[in-house]
Every structure is written in structure tokens, then in C-alpha cells.
Symmetry: C2
């Protein structure tokens, strides 16, 4: 686990979009950050206190989190100087970059010299077991999708917030790099060895209180030819009691697969339920989460009503409307 | 690719079962071996010429293949002495053991000194791509299973033999360690990183002649909670034109998952076809391959007739009967 609170490193991010990891931490775990640390020319601002490394330490920060994508996929000399300084001052560093911190000799040397940790959350650090398929106490909800990148992480995060507000016991379980940095823990599922995928999800969602819900971040789609195996491992490792189907209605084809149509909502529901019943015969789909960012207010309202009528399930956009209706549906399970 | 022909190292195998990799090579690629090399006390014999390392070399062997499981999961000093000698004499060494050759300093040093290769087929050596989902020329048949270890490799191997005998163009494509050692090439799918599983199968089964069949070794089962993700990656990466359903009728539960029932043949067929249609809407299931080793002749005959009537597809045990009826069904596709 990565130690909190964080100081969020925004570096020389060219724009706000490049800082989406930092934005996610600020949006979903504001208590995890003491401030943001920006270099000259930084074009991003996540709207929290600007701090130097020294000010961050004084405010209690334990870990400098790289909250920004690096330009050109290279850790620049400018960044390296800052990161070495942070290690010298007593920070751990956490990163979800494709280029690993551990591959940078200067950072490794500084971390060793000062007894500090480098967390590359893109790479698993646990030897996960083979899935046992054994039933575990507690409840689990998994976000599944008609496609990749349709809002599965956002949905699970929003659901956690809405459930906690209702006084329910709920924990978001991260399965991707951004989610891991936001919460400080999780499984980087796309980098797990094939044989251990389902086992890693069992590990992530252990036995818990009978009335506790794990909200498992979904990945990919059972219908996405590049990543479907990962999606099925989530279903069989997670043994969900409830599924939420996530969808983005303006896609003309599966992400990255021109010419491949998305499944219909009914197809995606049927496939997910059929596969999930092997793990838990009582599994139910309890709602539809729609990412309506490319629709107008009026279009979104109309689309959600239509889906709700067709599917006979609550259909909401958690960004526009919050996830309370989905939380209520889980409470009724 | 591992260079053939091989000398098969049986070491001090306690019994015949321990030498199943060597037996597989002898059964399916007899032309790939010049002989077997056994140490004192070896209890296995795959029925080919016994040779020393020197005799193997003289007979043209290029690679010493470890055709036997090692006792206690340790590469013993006795083995190591033999393997170092083989490298000194000019052999490459190939192994599917869990303990990697590359983790043995003496072997690495000897291989470097003599310019020879150590092949650990348990570990991928290729950077596989993300699956593109693009249609490829040529045809592909995938063996799917109701469970793990029901005869999928055997079925694909027997099918290759029967198809070649019919004059069809057919290539077995290995996805497991034993198959890779038998053929000298393939993808160790269970050790591939999650994101690249489907892509590794696209890589394994590239565009080919329009009338050529790749016979893809299946892994796991869509219904096996530990490994289903691997099975789905095979379906979406392989884009099969034809499926063969493999089954072992005496299992009381899914392998390694006490209390979890096997799917029925009809369920397994429906699930596999449903998932495979995303990749290829024209996919067909063309036959059932039943491992009847735990049935008497009479029971096997009765069971196969019953399955054939129920499923409306050829049902054969390729070990007892050969795979010609399955080859004929593929020829008719």
C-alpha cells in the first residue's frame, strides 16, 4: 500500500487533461492530498493548494504521486531532478507511468540511499494465487461495459460515495492504474499474468462483513476482442452479487476496433449474466450507468428514459445525476 | 523457434507418467527426435533408440529437450552436470520446467561460453501485440472444453494427423508448454500478460492460404472460474471458423474446484458459440471430442452414440477411434 497523504506532482503538464490522475485523486479522495506541486509552465490546475516539496512535507505528505502523463513517454531530466530531490527530502514516489521509476538508475540509487520506496503501480508486486472459486462472505458489485472506457471506474467511485452517504458499508476496489493511485491500493489487472487474473481479483475482494459491498472497477468488455479475457476474469474472480452495465451511447464502433459494432444493452446484459451465473447463480443486474457526456441535457434525459423503459432497470448518468438510484438498487438486493 | 531434431532427455524419471512430454514428442512428431537419453535408474522408456549425448550429436540432434518432470521441482546436481556437458558438446537445451534453466548460474555460464541457447518455454520471449481483431485469411479451428485437462491438445494433434492424411493443409498451433516442446514453437498462453493474451493468439495464427487450417490448442474452459479469461482470449484472438467441444464424462466437479459442477454439453456449446460470434458471426461447432479413457469399450460406444444423437454432431474419442470424422466435418465447412 502507498502511504497517504500525497503531494500531487503536476510537473509541466501541458493541459488539464494530462493531469487526469491528479484530478481523480482530488475528486474522489480529497482527504488523500495535502496539495499540488507544479513546475514552471504547468498548464494544469486541480484546484488545491500549491505547495513546494518542503511545504508538502510540512503539511504531512508521505508520498509524491505523479499525477500527470509524461510527454513523449520519457521521464525528462527536469522531472528526474525533482524526483531525486523529493527522495532526498523523505518522500516515497508513486507512479502509473508506462516508463517505470525502477528503470531509472538515478531514482533507484536515491531511493536506496535514503531508504525510500518507488511504487510503479503499472506492475504487480504481489504473487497472486490461482483462483479457488470459493464463496466469500460479503457482497460484491462489478461494473461491466458494452465497451472499454465507458465510465466503469467513475461509476464504481460514484457508487461508493452514494452508498457511504446512505450509511452503507462500501469499498471501491481498483483494478487499473488510476484507481490504484487514487486509493493507494488495488490490482493492475492488465499487467497480471494470465493464469493469475481471476485469483488476483479474489485477493482484491476478500471475505468481509455480510453487509459490506466491494465495488469492483471493471475493465474492458466481454465483447471487446482485445481485452475480453480480462473482463471474464473479473466476473469469475469477483463472483459478483450485482452487476451494473456501463455504456456510452455515441460510439460508432468498439474502441480501437473499427468495423466492430458494440453489442446492444440487452446482449451485453445477457452475456454478463450468463457468465456470472457460473460464479454466483443468484447474480442480478441492478442498473445501467450511461456516460452521456456527448449528449445535450435534453438528449440525455430522453435517452435515459428510453433505456430505463426498455431494460426495466434504473438508468442513470452518475456524473450528471449522482449514483444514488444505483445505491438504492444495491441496498434492495 | 527451437531447432530440431531433438535428443530426448528422460533423466532419472521415476515412471512413464513423468516422461509425458517426451512421450508426446515421440507420439506426435517422431521425426523430431533422434533418440532418448536416460540416466541410471530411469523408470521411463518412450520406445525409441537409447543414445548418449555423443551418439545423439552424431545422429544430428541440435537440441537436448528435457522430456520429463523433475522430482520435487528442483533441477538436481546430477541433471546439472549432464546439462552443462550437453552445452559444452554443442547442444541447445529446451525445457518446460517451472524452475527455469535461465535461473541456474552454471547453465547460463556454460551456454554463454559455448554460444548455445537455453529455451524456457514456460516463459514468453516475444512482445506480443494488443489484439487488432482484424480478419485474417485462412481458416482456424479451436478446441474448447467443458473443463480443464479433458483432451484439447490431444484432439488438435489427432485432427492435424487426420487432416494431413486427407491431403488437407493443417497446422497444430501450441498454446501450452507440452505442445510447444512437441512442435518447437507456440505461445505459452498461461504465462502471457493479461492485456496481450488475445494478441498472442493472433500472432500465433497469422494470415495463411485460404484453404489452410490452424488447429489451435485450447486451454481451460469458459466455465472454469480460475482460467476462463484465458479461454475467452483464445476465442477472440483465434477468431475460429470452427469449434470442437472436448469433454471428459466421468468428472464429478470442475478440475480443482470441488462443488462446482461441469456445464452440460449444450451449455458449453451455447456459451462458446455466443462468445465466438463476436469474432466471427459464421463460426460453427463441428463435433464433440470425448475422452473416454475411464469408460469400458461398451460404455464408450454407448456414451458416444447418445451424445451424437443429443447434439446432432459427430462425437468421437480420437484416442480410440482417430479423428477422421472430425477432419471430414472440417473439410465440409
Amino acid at each position: 500500500m502507498i502511504e497517504t497523504p500525497y503531494l500531487l506532482f503536476l510537473g509541466d503538464a501541458p493541459d488539464q487533461l494530462a493531469a487526469k490522475v491528479a484530478q481523480g485523486i482530488k475528486d474522489w479522495r480529497p482527504e488523500n492530498s495535502v496539495g499540488q506541486f507544479r513546475l514552471d509552465g504547468c498548464g494544469a490546475d486541480v484546484g488545491i493548494q500549491d505547495m513546494t516539496l518542503a511545504e508538502g512535507l510540512a503539511a504531512g505528505a508521505k508520498t509524491l504521486v505523479i499525477g500527470v502523463a509524461n510527454r513523449g513517454g520519457v521521464i525528462s531530466d527536469k522531472w528526474k531532478a525533482v524526483l531525486v530531490e523529493a527522495l532526498e527530502m523523505g518522500y516515497d514516489i508513486a507512479s502509473g507511468l508506462h516508463n517505470l521509476l525502477r528503470d531509472e538508475a538515478e531514482l533507484v540509487a536515491a531511493a536506496q540511499k535514503h531508504g525510500k520506496n518507488l511504487f510503479d503501480v503499472r506492475i504487480p508486486t504481489v504473487d497472486y494465487p490461482i483462483a479457488s472459486g470459493e464463496k466469500r462472505r460479503g457482497k460484491r458489485c462489478l461494473a461491466v461495459g458494452t465497451d472499454c472506457s465507458v465510465g466503469k471506474m467513475y461509476t464504481a467511485m460514484a457508487l461508493e460515495k452514494a452508498m457511504v452517504a446512505r450509511g452503507m458499508k462500501a469499498t471501491f476496489r481498483a483494478t487499473g492504474q488510476t484507481g490504484i493511485l487514487i486509493t493507494g491500493d488495488g490490482v493492475p489487472l492488465d499487467a497480471v499474468i494470465a493464469d493469475f487474473m481471476a485469483g488476483s481479483i479474489e485477493y482484491l475482494t476478500p471475505a468481509n462483513d455480510a453487509d459490506h459491498w466491494d465495488l469492483i472497477e471493471g475493465q474492458g468488455s466481454l465483447h471487446h476482442m482485445s481485452y475480453s479475457g480480462v473482463s471474464l476474469a473479473l466476473i469469475h474472480g469477483g463472483q459478483p452479487d450485482a452487476l451494473i452495465l456501463c455504456h456510452e451511447p455515441t460510439r460508432s464502433h468498439m474502441r480501437g476496433l473499427p468495423g466492430r459494432d458494440l453489442p446492444t444493452l440487452a446482449q451485453a446484459r445477457d452475456t454478463a449474466l450468463m457468465m456470472a451465473r457460473d460464479a454466483n447463480p443468484d447474480v442480478k443486474m441492478i442498473g445501467i450507468s450511461v456516460n452521456t457526456q456527448h449528449l445535450s441535457d435534453a438528449e440525455a434525459t430522453e435517452y435515459l428514459s428510453k433505456v430505463e423503459a426498455e431494460m426495466g432497470l434504473p438508468a442513470v448518468d452518475p456524473f450528471r445525476q449522482g449514483a444514488d438510484r444505483l445505491a438504492a438498487a444495491l441496498e434492495a438486493v
